[in-house]
Subunit: 342 residues, 4 copies
């Protein structure tokens, strides 16, 4: 924001008042400068009303139609389950409002491509997809370092994504679609390269994983430029939360996502506390993501990850799930990138 920007707050319609939606409502009301929540939409109207209490001037609706008809609504956050995204996105695109759509853009590559085409017809980007890791200072630093060539070319990326535990209903497909999807995005983000192929290794599974979850898994990824990435995805890791990457360059190694904070020596041990969850790890990335979106929206712009990024990661996830089933290396095939994303 430059000196002199307007005082008028961006009035935001938040669709979906579940955990993520409520979180965005609280964020927009308490930590984001220059925005406020105008409407909260949820099929469950009482849930919408409850979530709207955080936002001093917000009204609740059970349907997106009336919300979009309001003159004061200047932007939309979509935080419903993914299978509802496509219809919502098409409706909001018609109104040509800036959108922050939680990931996934849509649950599969084909429907994501429809969104890409619809946006392309408007000849302007309206959608930012909620890949908030791009707003994390350490990933940004890694991206800059790769681009700078300071340590030579990037050769490999060793990623780990560890959650203390996953819900029982988490399936093997969700391991890819909900967790590894972030790694697909950041690998693309830090390298600036598309992903060519995915392979998945299944070995000994943790006894702490609920039935039906083969956990951990080892995902092998190759970019178009030949960078070899591998992701350990482990969603019942018990010890705490950790999202870390080790980047191997021609002339050095860089780790991000290391634990920090107060350092103890007690009871025969040195060290500190492991980050307990993604909330502590990525809180400021979420804030920074939404602030950045609000600032751009007020200027009529969209920055951040695009619908194209949403489409590509959907294609990667499809390849990932297929690889999980076959054990083979699966190629990721993409349509040509439309002009507005170039």
């Amino acid at each position: 924001m430059e000196p002199g920007s307007t005082l008028t707050n961006l009035r935001v319609c938040v669709v979906g008042a579940g955990k993520m939606g409520a979180d965005h409502i609280e964020r927009l009301s308490r930590r984001i400068v220059g925005a406020e929540v105008a409407v909260v939409v949820d099929a469950d109207l009482s849930r919408a009303k409850k979530a709207a209490e955080w936002a001093p001037s917000a009204v609740a609706e059970s349907n997106i139609g009336p919300a979009l008809d309001r003159e004061d609504v200047g932007a939309v956050v979509i935080a419903t389950p993914g299978f509802l995204h496509k219809e919502m996105l098409l409706q909001v695109l018609e109104r040509r409002l800036p959108i922050l759509c939680e990931k996934p853009l849509t649950p599969d590559a084909a429907s994501s491509w429809e969104i890409v085409e619809a946006e392309q017809r408007l000849e302007k980007r309206h959608i930012q997809v909620g890949f908030m890791r791009r707003f994390d200072a350490e990933y940004q630093c890694l991206r800059k370092l790769i681009a700078s060539g300071e340590l030579g070319e990037l050769l490999m990326l060793h990623c780990s994504h560890r959650n203390p535990e996953a819900p029982k209903e988490f399936t093997n497909e969700m391991l890819i679609n909900d967790s590894v999807v972030h790694e697909f995005d950041v690998i693309r983000y830090v390298t600036g390269e598309e992903i060519n192929s995915v392979q998945v290794r299944l070995g000994r599974a943790s006894r702490h994983a609920p039935a039906g979850q083969h956990d951990p898994q080892h995902v092998l990824i190759e970019t178009e430029g030949g960078v070899l990435a591998d992701v350990e995805i482990f969603v019942n890791a018990q010890f705490g939360y950790q999202v870390a990457t080790q980047a191997v360059f021609e002339k050095g190694i860089v780790n991000i996502g290391e634990d920090g904070g107060p350092y103890f020596r007690s009871a025969g041990r040195w060290g500190g506390e492991v980050t307990p969850s993604f909330i502590e790890r990525f809180r400021s990335a979420y804030d920074s993501e939404v602030q950045s979106w609000v600032d751009a929206a007020k200027q009529g712009e969209i920055g951040g990850p695009t619908a194209w990024d949403g489409y590509v990661t959907a294609a990667c996830c499809e390849a990932g799930v297929a690889a999980q089933k076959s054990g083979e290396k699966v190629k990721v095939s993409l349509k040509a990138k439309p002009g507005i994303y170039c």
Copy 2:
């Protein structure tokens, strides 16, 4: 802030448009929710005008009088040089507005005590002093740890306060008054105890210190409860910025202020970047300090360090400067704590 708090922004008068003042204006305009700058006051009107550009609806004044007469001003930030604080504080106290006063409260214990008395006459706290370290997550964690007794009693504190370099005009007195003052405050904050005495050791000085600065110095502090603290103050330390504390408990040792961030292995070295300055180290503490003050001010309250804290640290600084000159242990003597601070 609870759900449903009012939308109306707190309109703030910022007095002093130098480095610190301009920083607060930008912060209030861009990162603090629920506040906006109404007036910028600086004897140098053009400087006031320039700083006011960050704040969309702010006007500039060269004098605090007209600013305080404005109906819409609901709170005041004082960011002028310390020797001007006393008069300003008395004027604003008359208007009974909430104040955030950058440290020092005033330059000496006697004048600080006058402020304490003036505030005490109002029978309510109006002043928060800008000891922003209390809003740093690691100091807060240390304070909680001490209070919890989890590692037994606190016995010692080893503090270091290292700047890459100090301005030429920095004097030995300023070493105490501008730098060690923060350590006085946090020692009091984390222990919950007053400081009894100060001693200063001068040894070999760095050749990188400008003439007239004996740097580093070793400051020995004792609390009323017998905690031994020592502070290495080193303002021309060249290598980078570091503010760190090691707390020695009966059953363990805790370090705060350790470096973190991306971890490199390159050119025969492992490690990362040292924090370059207090800006990176304490940026979020400043934001959190001001947000907390704004939130409280909107409820008619003052939290955070008080005028009493300002007075006590002024007394500690006086003892510190005397100790610097004599080489002896100097007792800190304090008047009785007035009721509104209890």
Copy 3:
């Protein structure tokens, strides 16, 4: 060694006076208690003589025959190039002397199996193979931790093996046979499981690798119990030397091989010195390996990695080289383990 063990030194014949052999001669003469070098054998007699200077009472020979005829020789260290090992081993086995044979046992699985059979015919182990990592305190600690079950079952191992630079004549096969061979051994050592399969991924290569070296490579290994291991082998990594493993358990993560030593803050950086080479990293493991071999040999015993371990790693290396060429997962097939190794 128990109190009261005999004073008589074990008199050792060292075959091969190249870098490794000379190193063992110096070690046996200066740092190993209870042993001394009796003969140094090298086809290049002047090299043998030169190396023998470290050992006060040693004679030099150009041929192993006369050396083995000496009455005083009680044990043999073989440190010649691998392709000469088979004949030497068979000769020494005939004399039934304890042998410390530098890795590889022999250059391929078939010839290693011949040694295994020859030793099996003697109905007693005589050969220890030079996998010195088993004598490194951190690998020993990891092995104990896995066996203890303290952190649940071991699920994955992420290994990295980085050298600052490799000789020009280093081939892709040598990457497996000379470097990854150590990882094969320690994976077997810490897990207590055999290796089932090997796959190799080739991606972008470092421009610092000499022609003909595709470096780094990513080696995927699976144990019979389903542990997924992966090894980044990178022999032109420039920044320094690093051999590290991250073990993923059901309830925690353990890293070994982290850098330590003096910790600097200077010139805007925190950290320390990367280990420059395998010498600093594994010096004490070498000493401990040889001391352990000497102590056992004096009791007529052999501890440490066996000829069977030499045979198995040779089979793993063969699979690794095949995998390198095909890009496919290659199964490791082993003969049944002879009784003396059980």
Copy 4:
């Protein structure tokens, strides 16, 4: 040791078969090359006999006289309580044998000075005092770094010396004489400067300290060149063992004595194991000290800390104990350094 050094072992008489003496006997027998124990002397003959079992060819004596009469004894280790050192040293000096004398040289400066004079009369150094920290790789590295001037001049040293717990009979004087004595020595060693003064601060004491021990204490030391050192001595620190130093240079900060080893993430914590005791921390320093003494003794030389160092630290300890009692800064006064120590 150069190539070609003699095979004949140095035959050592160890006086004192308590904990330290037995430790040296085991070391000389098992880990030190080129030496063996010839006689073990202890007033308690059965204790001497028991300790002598570690040494294959050793005999036991209850008196030093007959031991020194033995033709084969080439060197003496003194490991009795300090108050017996003076008489022993004088007796052995008469025999002109190389001596490794455990610290303290003698219990006070006056008697240490007598030893210095006796040795000076022999016109050659015969005594090495057991300040084993000088053989620790990190202290050696720090000493080199200071001498190099690479980070500018050394300005301050922050030392901590923490034991898990002290025996009940440990007195305040022993805190200085048995623990801080090592810090006196290493401060002299790394700086190459004598100590000018000592002051001791007593604050809140740990409730885990036995009656009569005021623990921890904060010892302030100044070298002749103006380096300010401070030592936290804390012998009931519960959490584990730690001997660490932070050196403050004009251009950087260096820490030695940091914990290392395997790095865990488990149960919400990251970190590793604190060194449990001085044995793990300094084992290799002890070995290296004794090996170095043996190597020199076989050449008729003495390296390492001298009787002069023993005398000076005794003077520092006397000043330290006086400072402990008075709370004041106490000057250390030394006689002129005799020629054989220059």
